[in-house]
């Protein structure tokens, strides 16, 4: 119940907002893509810090014997983040490819400028 104790989550949320701002505001398409990546890592950091337990170990259990769950961190967020990282790399590859094609066509990375070029072309 405290902002100072939850500093990890706070940083994650700030990263999310920075990324989001870049994704929405910046005119440069490359910057938008980087913003997307930062936004996603912010979310993943938030998720992974939810699974962290103080003084607990990596969830690789010994091959034999009883296992006390409290000795290990929560494996669920790790699995979800793993999925998320792969999703975000595929999305950024696709967006980068779009970016290359658009630059070849319009010689700019600004979406508004491209729009203008397109209008001109139509006329």
């Amino acid at each position: 119940m405290n902002l100072l104790e939850n500093y990890e989550e706070l940083v994650a949320m700030i990263l999310f907002v920075i990324g989001f701002t870049m994704l929405v505001f910046s005119k440069n398409l490359l910057k938008k893509i980087i913003g997307l990546n930062i936004m996603d890592t912010g979310v993943y950091l938030f998720l992974a810090s939810m699974g962290y337990i103080k003084d607990a170990l990596t969830p690789i259990v010994p091959a034999e014997g009883e296992v006390n769950p409290m000795d290990y961190i929560n494996p669920i967020p790790s699995g979800l983040v793993l999925t998320g990282i792969v999703v975000s790399v595929s999305v950024s590859a696709l967006t980068l490819a779009l970016c290359v094609r658009l630059y070849k066509k319009y010689h700019t990375l600004d979406l508004d400028e491209m729009y203008m070029h397109m209008k001109k072309e139509e006329e």
């Binding site: 999310f16 997307l36 996603d40 998720l47 999305v91 696709l94 779009l98 970016c99 979406l111 491209m114």
Partner: protein
Amino acid sequence: MMDFLMNFPFITIVLSLFSAVVAFAFKGSRARFVTYFLLLAGAVMSCFVLAYNLSSETGYFVYRMGHYDAPIGNEISAGLLEPFFVLIFEVVMLLSVLGGKRRIFSDIPEEKQKLFYVMINLCHAALAALCYTNDIFTAYVFVEICTIASCSLLMASDKGKSLIAATRYMIFSLIGSGFLLIGIILIYSITGHLLFTNLYEAITLLWRDGSYNFPLTVAIGLIVSGLCVKSGLFPFHFWMPDTYGTATPAASAILSGVISKGYIFLLFKIIFRVIGFDVFLATGVQNILFVFGILGMVVGSVSAIRTKNIKFMIAFSSAAQIGYIYMGLGLGTRTALVASLFQIISHSLTKSMLFISAGGLCDAAGGKQDFASLRSCAHKNKVAGAVFLAGALSMVGVPIFAGFIPKLLFAASAFEGGAKMFFVLIALAVSTMLNVMYFMRTALTVYYPLGAENGAQAKTRACASFAVCTIVFIALNIAVGLNSQPISSLLEKGIELFMNVR
């Protein structure tokens, strides 16, 4: 033996994923037939699942994906609504792909047509998974597949315009995905569950307890707004005209008729099965949806009047129609919810029909989309003109067509809505008026009597698959319009299941 039918939802999903790989392995146009076959098979399987659920006692079953039960493993579930909507989506996709076949050949470079069909398979898989899933993170993964695949449908046309539209669509979709993801994770962090059933229990308890009400409200708001951005509710509808206007007709029909509806269905499922409708009403998010829905209805229609491009007009009309759906959700009464679901069905059927027929009209006008060059082109392509007229009548809400029923239900539900009644009725009246205006204008334009100067032009022959598909579209539309009673009672039962059976 009957129990074997319970495997069908999972078979639909995995088979369509598998068929995407198979279509990728094939050379040339054989990928097309894989897609047709899969959509047909999917539709048949959905029929069986629906029949099974209608005949069974509970009308609902949960299927384990793996060897472990609910909180540990993953599962999918099917009630009455899920197979019904999957069936509608499959039929619309099949008809759009068949009807837009000729334009797919002419719009998309030959070597990319195979990949276009691969993407349709993936869209199909993702939509089926979105409808059937019972796990919130699985829903996110398949939302991403749906996003990438639908963006690829757009950019397959390989023109500068469609690439820009695809980029815009992608950016809006990614904003939506970001919101959805962080909402899901907030919910996970305060409940510790990912499966719908357990989430519902945990959230109901938490809400009664009251300790996490603020994060819960924020999470619900983020999930709802993420899916709203993706489906194009009013303040986020900027991407719609470009996206739907520049794609090949089959792609725009699928994007507007199926994919945005898939997101809306997921939203319904999350609201009823995860959040619980009582908690959702208590957060007050539905009032925001109501306001934006009504604004969307009016603003979308006004924009549709102002535009000069037929496809942009249909796209803006889409924005208006999606406003209806959210308005129903915002009203929150039982009749309004049925009306919203009915609106999803009728809009899905009608809008894809309009896009396909607009493609035919534009072909007849020499590939141009503005009204001036579309003048009297319905005489050249009679089938497309007739279908467009039927679609317009359905959109406007003429009885016997499918579009009439949701408007009737909305008007009926307005009287249960208390203070919101006034706004609903006014918005319905204004929006219908505007609808009539722009569809009348289009119909008058395309049926403008042939003058001396353009009367001599040759008639373009409509290809057979186009004619058959569009006729099936009209037949379906009228069938839904005439048999509204069984469908709306099915929807009502489905909502009952959504709310009460877990």
